[in-house]
């Protein structure tokens, strides 16, 4: 057998290179990557979403918990301030409505009224009556403000318009922060006077400061332009712009998360003090995030991180395991296929060898007879036989020896191509070579073989040995299908661009329709006991490997046509 494989041993196992070529790494790496990414994605994304929703809900709950006292503080502060202003406004209006113009313009009476108001309500620092033209007629208080003109003061114009007015905090003539409450009393058509009381800013400062229940926070009044009306702890001096974002006007209490320069995020509550230009602002003492929330958030993140790591580890391990198994299964299958292919080849070679041995016997028998006759003539006839007779016999011996040589060369040619290699092949010549093996059988069984080859020899780049095996398998099947005296036609046609097709048609028994879908299955055979069921399955495998395709048309009782299509160029594989 070694003589038949001059290019090296042919083994049923897989060499390392073959294993690599059969099982390339790249598709497995791609499968691994795809599997890992997709499984990780579907596992981790819902986890992240669920954790995110949880996070937001917890955060909302914590914020709610934190904002509730702020809202309460703001509401309490609002009530206290509104009550303070309401009392003083009502007192002033009461004085302005019940006392006569004469009483009020009398400085001593005005002084008494001021003392009454100071003792009853507190917070008042002076009182004055101003004419409709803005001139202060009378004044009671610590400053010398009689005769001053308030015609152009903003609060004065407002009180004429509205009847009652609480001003913003300002410095005024006395150069000290204060605000005024003023009430306009109309005495006749277009005539009247304004009663004005000044509230010491210090008084309201104390009131606002007393709202500060928690240490570390900040409470102050703003006007609608964001100017501080009372001093603040950490948001600026009185009558300077507050270092806090101002809020659009709103009747309700508004909560805002603000960023403090050094302290970080804080909650701020804003509420409008009705009947005044003031906005009460309360800044929370602690951060927006309580320690409980920080811990919970840390736990949540830890849970998310830990779960993700665990999922990734399981997914990566699982993907590796599965792809590894798939790869091993593929290797095992490739090895089995390789072995099957090898055995089919060896079986074909065995059949051929037996046929060849028998075929060689004929010329050997002739040589034996011719040589025997020559010997007979030399021994038994006197005189020696004529020279021509002896030469004729020797020529016959030489011819028969050449015939033997031809047969052995054909077999060697077949065996030599067991190694995989591509070369330029003339398909018609290859088919004629393959048919050489079957010539004798065809002649014994009187099977007509008709060839329909185009004149231009079609060349393809492919593997000669594999093609030989494919054609031998298919033509052998045709031989098995036809009766003695049957007909087999073989033709070559150019198919789609870049391909060439060989068709092999017989007028044999045909393939029943129910077998059609199984003919390429391994181990499917109808030759009970005689076939391995591997021939067509291996043929199909080889043709696929060469980048080609096989199709079959068959009708029971009419015949079968196999069409084998191959790429002309170098197969990709």
């Amino acid at each position: 057998m070694t003589e038949l494989t001059p290019d090296g041993p042919v083994t049923p196992g897989l060499s390392e290179g073959e294993e690599r070529s059969l099982v390339p790494g790249r598709p497995y790496r791609r499968i691994l990557l795809t599997a890992t990414l997709s499984v990780s994605f579907v596992a981790i994304v819902p986890l992240i979403i669920a954790t995110g929703i949880n996070y937001l809900q917890y955060q909302e709950a914590f914020r709610e918990e934190q904002s509730r006292p702020m809202v309460r503080f703001a509401a309490n502060g609002k009530l206290a301030l509104e009550a303070f202003l309401e009392e003083r406004t009502a007192a002033l209006r009461f004085v302005s409505q019940t006392r006569s113009y004469q009483e009020l313009t009398d400085p001593s009476t005005l002084g008494e009224i001021l003392e009454d108001m100071k003792s009853s309500f507190g917070g008042f620092s002076d009182l004055g009556v101003i004419e409709a033209d803005g001139t202060q007629l009378s004044y009671a208080g610590p400053y010398e403000l009689e005769g001053r003109d308030y015609g152009s003061a903003p609060w004065f114009r407002e009180v004429i318009r509205q009847g009652i007015h609480v001003s913003e905090v300002f410095l005024g003539y006395r150069d000290f922060p204060h605000f005024v409450i003023a009430s306009y009393r109309e005495t006749g058509r277009g005539e009247g006077f304004v009663l004005r009381a000044t509230i010491d800013a210090e008084y309201i400062n104390r009131l606002v400061g007393s709202l500060l229940a928690q240490p570390g926070g900040d409470v102050f009044l703003l006007n609608h332009q964001g100017i501080l009306q009372t001093p603040s702890r950490s948001h600026g001096e009185v009558l300077t712009p507050a270092q806090i974002p101002s809020l659009p006007f709103s009747i309700q209490t508004e909560l805002l998360e603000i960023q403090e320069p050094e302290l970080g995020p804080r909650l701020a509550a804003y509420t409008q003090i009705s009947g005044s230009p003031f906005v009460l602002a309360i800044v929370s003492p602690g951060g927006t995030v309580t320690p409980g929330w920080t811990g919970l958030r840390r736990n949540l993140l830890f849970f998310l991180f830990g779960s993700t790591i665990l999922i990734l580890a399981v997914v990566i391990w699982g993907s590796h395991w599965m792809v590894g198994r798939a790869r091993n299964a593929d290797i095992a299958r490739a090895a089995v296929y390789h072995r099957m292919e090898y055995e089919n080849k060896m079986a074909a070679l065995g059949r051929l060898s037996a046929g060849v041995a028998h075929e060689i016997n004929n010329p050997v028998a002739i040589i034996s007879e011719k040589a025997g006759l020559l010997k007979d003539l030399l021994l038994l006839s006197e005189p020696l036989p004529p020279k021509e007779k002896m030469l004729d016999l020797l020529d016959s011996v030489v011819r028969s020896a050449e015939r033997c040589g031809g047969i052995t060369h054909r077999l060697l040619g077949f065996a030599k191509h067991m190694q995989v290699q591509t070369e330029t092949i003339e398909l018609d010549q290859l088919l004629v070579e393959v048919l050489g093996f079957l010539e004798k059988e065809a002649s014994y069984r009187e099977i007509k073989i008709e060839l329909d080859f185009p004149e231009e020899a079609p060349e393809i780049v492919s593997d000669r040995g594999q093609l030989q095996q494919v054609f031998l398998n298919v033509i052998n099947n045709a031989f098995a299908a036809v009766d003695d005296g049957g007909r087999i036609q073989i033709g070559i046609i150019e198919g789609e661009p870049g391909t060439i097709s060989v068709w092999i048609q017989d007028n044999g028994v045909g393939i029943p329709e129910e077998h059609m879908s199984h003919i390429f299955d391994p181990f499917f055979t109808t030759k009970k006991g005689a076939g391995t069921g591997l021939g067509l399955s291996i043929t199909y495998g080889i043709v696929q490997k060469l980048g080609g395709d096989v199709s079959v048309q068959s009708q029971v009782g009419v015949g079968t046509r196999f069409i084998l299509t191959f790429p002309i160029g170098k197969p990709e594989n």
Binding site: H358, N361, N362, V364, A365, I366, I367, S368, E369, K370, G372, L373, K375, D376, L377, L379, L380, S381, S396, S400, K440, S443, Y444, E446
Partner: protein, 162 residues
């Protein structure tokens, strides 16, 4: 012992003498005389013409006259005209194969002894041939002495036994 006799592979002396005598006689008369095998009629059937003609010639030189048929059909039609004593039959032939011819001969002409001489036969073929009534089964290439021995044995064998 002559060199020729040595080359013949130790043929018994009497046989050689008888043969030489017979050949002398044949040369003198220019006729083919019945040889040592008696008046056996032999039919050789083989599709390799070169082979079968040469063999016929060699048998002739040993005074065994034979007819030649190149395929099964010819052989069967020749049998209709004249029955040989012994038939030497190849198995693989175009058209009617050797086993079919054997079967036909044995059913129609049971007296004809058939010796199978083939280059293709397997053990299975041999078993079938013997079961079908072949007298002997020989493989190509065959020693002419062996063939003659079988032919003579077949010629002497009583056909009733078969």
């Amino acid at each position: 012992m002559t060199a020729a006799a040595l080359a013949e592979g130790g043929m018994p002396d009497e046989a050689r003498e008888v043969m030489e005598k017979a050949h002398e006689l044949a040369r003198q008369t220019g006729n083919i005389e019945p040889g040592v095998g008696g008046t056996l009629k032999i039919l050789l059937v083989d599709d390799e013409e070169d082979f079968v003609r040469t063999m016929a010639e060699r048998l002739q030189m040993r005074d065994l006259g034979s007819d030649v048929a190149l395929n099964g059909e010819d052989a069967l039609s020749m049998l209709e005209e004249d029955l040989p004593d012994v038939m030497v039959l190849d198995l693989k032939m175009p058209g009617i194969g050797g086993l079919e011819v054997l079967e036909a001969v044995k059913s129609r002409y049971p007296t004809v002894q058939v010796i199978i001489l083939t280059g293709h036969g397997s053990e299975k073929d041999e078993a079938i041939a013997l079961r079908l009534g072949a007298f002997a089964y020989l493989k190509k290439p065959v020693d002419i002495q062996d063939l003659m021995a079988e032919v003579r044995r077949a010629g002497e064998a009583p056909s009733e036994d078969l």
